[in-house]
């Protein structure tokens, strides 16, 4: 089994962009350990020479369409769900700082 420790949980929390309390980190560490132990069951399957499944429907091809403008969502409807906005745009904290 892969080695899970507090550093790994912090690393995953960073990758998935979720802040976690100390308590949540503890709980996740033990949950993920028990799930990964269970998942190790797969090690007994011989998959030598087996292709990984890429699409469950074997006959599906890439779906392409003409690059045409379709129905466009009105700006005010889109913005009505955004948590902060300014002048018809979504507002976020400053990304580039300084003068």
């Amino acid at each position: 089994m892969a080695h899970l420790d507090k550093e790994m949980i912090e690393y995953l929390s960073d990758l998935s962009r979720i802040d976690l309390s100390e308590k949540e980190q503890q709980a996740l560490l033990s949950d993920l350990e028990s799930i990964l132990t269970y998942i190790d069951l797969l090690n007994e399957v011989d998959t030598e020479g087996v292709e990984p499944c890429n699409h469950v429907l074997a006959d599906m091809q890439n779906v392409m369409r003409e690059d045409e403008i379709g129905e466009v969502m009105p700006r005010e409807i889109f913005l009505s769900n955004s948590p902060a906005q300014i002048g018809g745009m979504i507002r976020v904290p400053p990304v580039i700082k300084g003068k």
């Binding site: 892969a2 790994m8 949980i9 690393y11 995953l12 929390s13 990758l15 998935s16 962009r17 979720i18 802040d19 976690l20 309390s21 949540e24 709980a27 996740l28 949950d31 993920l32 028990s34 799930i35 990964l36 269970y38 998942i39 069951l41 797969l42 399957v45 998959t47 087996v50 292709e51 990984p52 499944c53 890429n54 699409h55 469950v56 429907l57 599906m60 779906v63 369409r65 969502m73 409807i77 889109f78 009505s80 769900n81 955004s82 948590p83 902060a84 979504i90 976020v92 904290p93 990304v95």
Partner: protein, 484 residues
């Protein structure tokens, strides 16, 4: 009126025996009387549904043509968009999110004059098997209010079971339609992967998700499939097939059919579930079907494969909830990074975080081959084994769940909850159509379900043979305390 099937209701409406408004008012009254005990609904569209019903009454009075679902109330799982209405996914992250467009399924239902009556509870983002992961409320099983309805589409299943509504839609990623249908004693159908458009369904596991109906009988479920089961160019995984007719192909004969059963895989089945399952096989035999054993030995790996692939896909899909464009934003976030990190921290519940973390792990550098790729290879083996099994039979039969409904709060360990889906998960991994149809009761009078599984794209066969089984049995009952 709640004893009638959806098809009977529609026919009564079209024959002017009852108005659409009377139907809608009747079911709204049932919801108002009973849902306080059950907790199936997150939103009820009292005004909109009544307005819509009046319009349908006008249409009928004027002699205008009406659709296949004319006047039938239908509930929608709260991860499927209805334009202008809340789509919360039972998550704190989306408490105020109003869908800016109709999902394709809702558009199709409306086009056939169904009346959308409200949105139903679910495990947050459809992650769970009991609806206990809803961040909004508990849903109780109408057969025993101390039990869970199953999940994740527990609200839809409970609503149909108590006849608060004749039809509902759910979504099924690893059993989320079939398992609650089984635990609540109703029919639940998961179509072939790609049969029903997911446009407007909040994505969880994109290679697994399918939308499907709940109903009190197979004919009503088939009627919904006739409406929603068509190609959609806004879902790139949609099968390029026209909508099929189901009901005219229904016949009640099982003569000459072959049912495959993975006896070896089912060897741990016990108690009431085992008895009900064996009784169902007897029913098939009495009706002229033969039973053959099929080898599905790879199915014992399905939960391990699923919790790698579904969490990997979920971690990707849920990255979009960044606190910027929609949903909540942490009020104390001062930098853009804090907007992301803290909004997810306060917006997501524990199970959602657990799955995102696990999915991130199996996709991370150094582990991808050992976990994600390995799982995709085992998935290939599973698909091949199913294919081979279907060379010798028309359908495969299995139970839906290992037991009847379990007590709320009784499954605390996440792995124990995951194992609840042992009989349903492989069907999603292989993209197959499968139905849960009531097949008995436990000694505690809790319903059980039989699962009938077909080869890909044989949706009509699955529902047709389930219909034949259903017409030989009488398990589609209404929980006694919601009878009048």
């Amino acid at each position: 009126m709640h004893q009638l099937s959806a098809i009977e209701l529609r026919d009564k409406f079209l024959n002017k025996e009852v108005s659409a408004l009377q139907i809608v008012d009747y079911f709204l009254k049932r919801i108002d009387s009973y849902d306080g005990q059950i907790g199936a609904f997150l939103t009820v569209y009292h005004d909109q549904a009544r307005e819509h019903a009046k319009k349908l009454d006008d249409k009928l009075a004027k002699g205008e043509p009406l659709g296949k679902l004319a006047g039938i109330p239908i509930a929608i799982k709260d991860n499927i968009h209805v334009k202008g209405e809340l789509s919360t996914c039972a998550s704190q992250f989306l408490t105020n999110f109003k869908a800016p467009f109709d999902s394709t399924v809702v558009k199709l239902l409306k086009a056939e004059d169904a009346v959308i009556i409200g949105k139903t509870n679910l495990d947050e983002f459809a992650m769970g098997s009991s609806t206990e992961n809803s961040s909004v409320q508990l849903t109780r099983n109408p057969w025993n209010l101390t039990c869970a309805p199953g999940g994740s589409s527990g609200g839809s299943a409970a609503a149909v079971a108590a006849r608060l509504v004749p039809l509902a839609l759910g979504s099924d990623t690893g059993g989320s339609i079939r398992q609650p249908a089984s635990l609540c004693g109703v029919v639940g159908y998961k179509p072939t992967y790609g049969r029903v458009s997911r446009f407007g369904l909040v994505a969880f596991g994109s290679s697994l998700d399918q939308i499907g109906p709940f109903a009190t009988n197979t004919a009503d479920a088939a009627l919904v499939m006739e409406v929603i089961g068509g190609h959609c160019d806004r879902d790139s995984t949609s099968i390029p097939h026209k909508r099929e007719t189901y009901l005219e192909k229904f016949d009640k004969t099982l003569e000459g059919t072959t049912i495959g059963v993975p006896f070896e895989f089912l060897k741990d089945l016990k108690g009431d579930s085992k008895q009900a399952f064996e009784q169902s096989l007897e029913t098939f035999k009495e009706k002229g079907a033969s039973i053959v054993e099929v080898d599905l030995s790879t199915l014992k790996y399905s939960i391990a494969v699923y919790y790698i692939l579904a969490t990997a896909e979920a971690s990707t899909n849920l990255a979009r909830f960044d606190g910027v464009r929609y949903g909540i934003r942490a009020p104390d976030a001062e930098t853009l990074d804090q907007v992301y990190d803290r909004s997810k921290e306060i917006g997501f519940g524990h199970e959602v975080k657990r799955r995102i973390m696990l999915g991130t792990f199996v996709l991370s550098t150094g582990y991808q081959d050992a976990y994600y790729k390995k799982a995709q290879k085992v998935r290939t083996l599973m698909i091949e084994q199913y294919k081979k099994a279907f060379e010798t039979c028309d359908l495969i039969a299995m139970p839906v769940a290992t037991s009847g409904a379990f007590k709320i709060g009784s499954k605390k360990d996440p792995l124990e909850m995951y194992l609840e889906d042992i009989y349903t998960i492989s069907i999603n991994l292989a993209g197959l159509p499968a139905v849960s149809v009531p097949n008995g009761f436990t000694s505690h009078s809790l319903p059980l379900g039989l699962q009938l599984i077909g080869p890909q794209k044989e949706d009509v066969r699955v529902l047709s043979m389930a219909h034949a089984f259903e017409s030989e049995t009488s398990f589609n009952k209404l929980p006694p305390q919601f009878e009048d």
